[in-house]
């Protein structure tokens, strides 16, 4: 087990390295000169040089990268160009919001997706299968933010079951937290649950045709045992392999859905950062998101290893 974790962790190192290089190098691709952005049109040549020096832009690029990386590893992502707020602080303040949304929607997507996929696979071409397939096809075509708008119109504006906007931290009131994240999470999780349902169905249909399922039936094991122990264990292997991708999609989707519900998360921060060309903030956002994705990847890798003995280190 420990060996598995260490091995997967090592495999993720090159990924982190390349992301950091990509993230850093896009600063030099930006069309506008950050110094100009800061000092504005009225700045003098002298001011220009001072700011340039302060930002460390006179050093060679690889040195700047190493310094930046060194600070980033210590949790210092620099400070915003515009209000000098620490990037790490700004990101960390919004992170729980986006994280709540992503986690809740992932839970919804997995539970609905796996249940629907298994139900459909057990009786191909039955009404359950048709219903699930049609539902999944629709689910993948609906833009999550539009679905959010509709949910707000129905459940918040008309029925007043849930708040239409805003976010209550979990630490403040778990019940209010749940009420505030439930609509956005449904809006966000639906299309992922559709994607997961399709994957589970096709994996399950494939597994049910395998020799070992026939052999288990020949052994007279009960249908329920064959489905949930022998088939599902193997069918989840390919699903888990792409689960971290689905969660990445959810994280991205959260940035947009936040806008519908006027939730002040990483999405709002990111949009503001683009508008103002706030490089350190954008860099920090990307790095933190990749960090999250890497953690999710590590978790799914470990689950993958537990489900699939062939993937374990010998």
């Amino acid at each position: 087990m420990l060996k598995l974790i260490v091995q997967r962790l090592l495999a993720l190192l090159p990924l982190l390295f390349i992301v950091s290089v990509l993230t850093f190098s896009f600063t030099s691709l930006l069309p506008s000169d950050p110094v100009d952005l800061i000092i504005g049109d009225t700045g003098t040549e002298e001011q220009y040089e001072i700011v340039r020096e302060r930002l460390g832009l006179n050093e060679p690029i690889h040195l700047r990268y190493l310094q930046w990386l060194g600070r980033a590893v210590q949790g210092d992502l620099g400070s915003s160009f515009f209000n000098s707020v620490s990037v790490m602080g700004a990101v960390m303040q919004r992170l729980p919001v986006t994280l709540s949304l992503t986690a809740m929607s992932a839970l919804i997507a997995i539970v609905i997706g796996v249940a629907a996929g298994v139900a459909a696979a057990l009786r191909p071409r039955s009404w359950v299968d048709r219903f699930a397939t049609i539902g999944a096809t629709f689910g993948q075509a609906v833009p999550n933010f539009w679905f959010g708008l509709i949910l707000v119109a129905i459940f918040a504006v008309n029925l007043r079951w849930f708040p239409a906007t805003g976010f209550t931290p979990l630490t403040e009131s778990p019940w209010e937290w749940l009420r505030s994240v439930i609509l956005p999470s449904i809006a966000l999780g639906t299309s992922s649950s559709a994607a997961i349902a399709r994957q589970v169905r096709s994996a399950m249909v494939g597994v049910l045709q395998q020799d070992y399922i026939r052999a288990a039936r020949a052994q007279g094991l009960s249908t329920r045992r064959i489905i949930f122990r022998h088939a599902l264990t193997n069918a989840l292997v390919p699903v888990v392999a792409v689960l971290s991708f689905q969660i990445t999609v959810l994280l991205g989707g959260a940035l947009i859905v936040e806008q519908v519900f006027a939730i002040n998360g990483l999405g709002t921060l990111a949009i503001a950062a683009v508008r103002q060309q706030d490089i350190p903030l954008l860099q920090g956002l990307v790095l933190v998101m990749v960090g999250l994705v890497v953690l999710v990847q590590l978790a799914t890798d470990i689950i993958y290893g537990l489900l699939n003995p062939k993937a374990r280190p010998s």
């Binding site: 091995q7 090592l10 495999a11 090159p14």
Partner: protein, 343 residues
């Protein structure tokens, strides 16, 4: 037949490297550990062994599909193993192949005409009409006809697909065709049709075959000589009849004895006789000495430390087994010595 071999393989080694975490380095797997073989023009060499014996690796090395890690493969006057690049067209057109699985060896998106004439497009300047005419000729050679030209592979049975593969291999009139288990995926009743077809075309065009198979009896029908491989080593080699009827290496004998006889009474007798042989559960790989030592009923202390050289056998050929060691010829023979023994 000339005395100079058409294909001469000397001390061939083929090694595959596994991939490690970062894609470089990793474990090595020695598929062929020093094989020496030769085929003369128009001759058929049957190469027999079980899975993992390295027989397909030899085929792939001859075809230039894998690199030899050491040793030599001479085709006529050309040394193939040391070629840095792909085979030059002059060589390429001389060595063709038919593979085992007729369901995957034909490109599903191409028509029979495209498959059969692909070698002509690559190596000749024939125009479309000429190629089509040649394709019809080639199909006739394998008992198919013009009407089949525009169909796709999935419309044919396994035996018919193998005929198409043979037609394509014959297109350039090669000197050598490597047959990698050409009939093992076919039904018994169609196997012999393909064997007969191969035999007739050989007589007609004087092609040499390197025929890879796991079934000694099958190979025996069509081969002039047979070589038997075990765990990357050629353990026995010799004229087809001698190897089949008087196997000299204990492994060759085990291989022959393992195939049940078609006569149930004789098979019952043989079964009672063999009961004492040790099981194959023993670890197959050994660090030094004879590769067969762990399964051999005749194993001696010497087999555990020394690799037996190829000893000449009465009736032709060689066997790498100390059972055949004599005081006079207890030396490692080179390929040249072997030839002199055989001829």
């Amino acid at each position: 037949m000339t005395d100079n071999p058409l294909l001469e393989i000397t001390d061939l080694q083929v090694t595959y490297s596994g991939r490690s975490l970062f894609g470089f380095g990793g474990k090595q797997f020695h598929a062929v550990k020093g094989a020496t073989l030769s085929i003369r023009a128009g001759e058929t060499l049957g190469l027999v062994g079980e899975s993992g014996s390295g027989k397909s690796s030899i085929a792939n090395a001859v075809l230039g599909l894998v690199k030899a890690s050491s040793g030599s493969i001479r085709f006529g006057d050309v040394e193939l193993a040391s070629l840095k690049t792909r085979y030059p067209p002059a060589i390429r057109s001389q060595i063709q192949a038919v593979f085992q699985d007729p369901y995957s060896s034909l490109n599903p998106s191409m028509t029979v005409e495209a498959i059969v004439t692909e070698p002509l497009r690559v190596h000749t300047s024939m125009d479309r009409a000429e190629r089509r005419a040649r394709a019809v000729e080639l199909l006739k050679l394998v008992s198919l006809s013009e009407e089949h030209l525009d169909r796709h592979p999935h419309q044919f049975s396994g035996g018919q697909r193998q005929r198409i593969a043979i037609a394509s291999a014959l297109a350039l009139q090669p000197k050598l065709i490597v047959l990698d288990e050409p009939v093992s995926a076919l039904d018994v009743s169609t196997q012999n049709q393909i064997i007969n077809l191969l035999y007739e075309r050989r007589a007609e065009f004087g092609i040499a075959y390197l025929m890879i198979a796991h079934d000694l009896a099958l190979v025996h029908h069509i081969s002039d000589r047979i070589a038997v491989m075990y765990l990357g080593h050629v353990v026995e080699e010799g004229p087809s009849d001698r190897v089949y009827h008087a196997p000299a290496h204990p492994y060759t004998r085990a291989l022959l004895d393992a195939v049940p006889l078609l006569d149930p009474q004789a098979q019952r007798q043989r079964r009672t006789a063999r009961k004492s042989a040790p099981a194959s559960d023993a670890p197959r790989l050994s660090v030094s000495g004879c590769p067969y030592q762990n399964r051999c009923p005749h194993v001696m202390s010497r087999c555990r430390s020394e690799m037996p050289p190829a000893y000449a056998i009465d009736g032709g050929g060689t066997a790498s087994c100390f059972l055949h060691a004599t005081e006079t010829c207890d030396t490692v023979r080179t390929a040249k010595d072997k030839e002199s023994v055989v001829s």
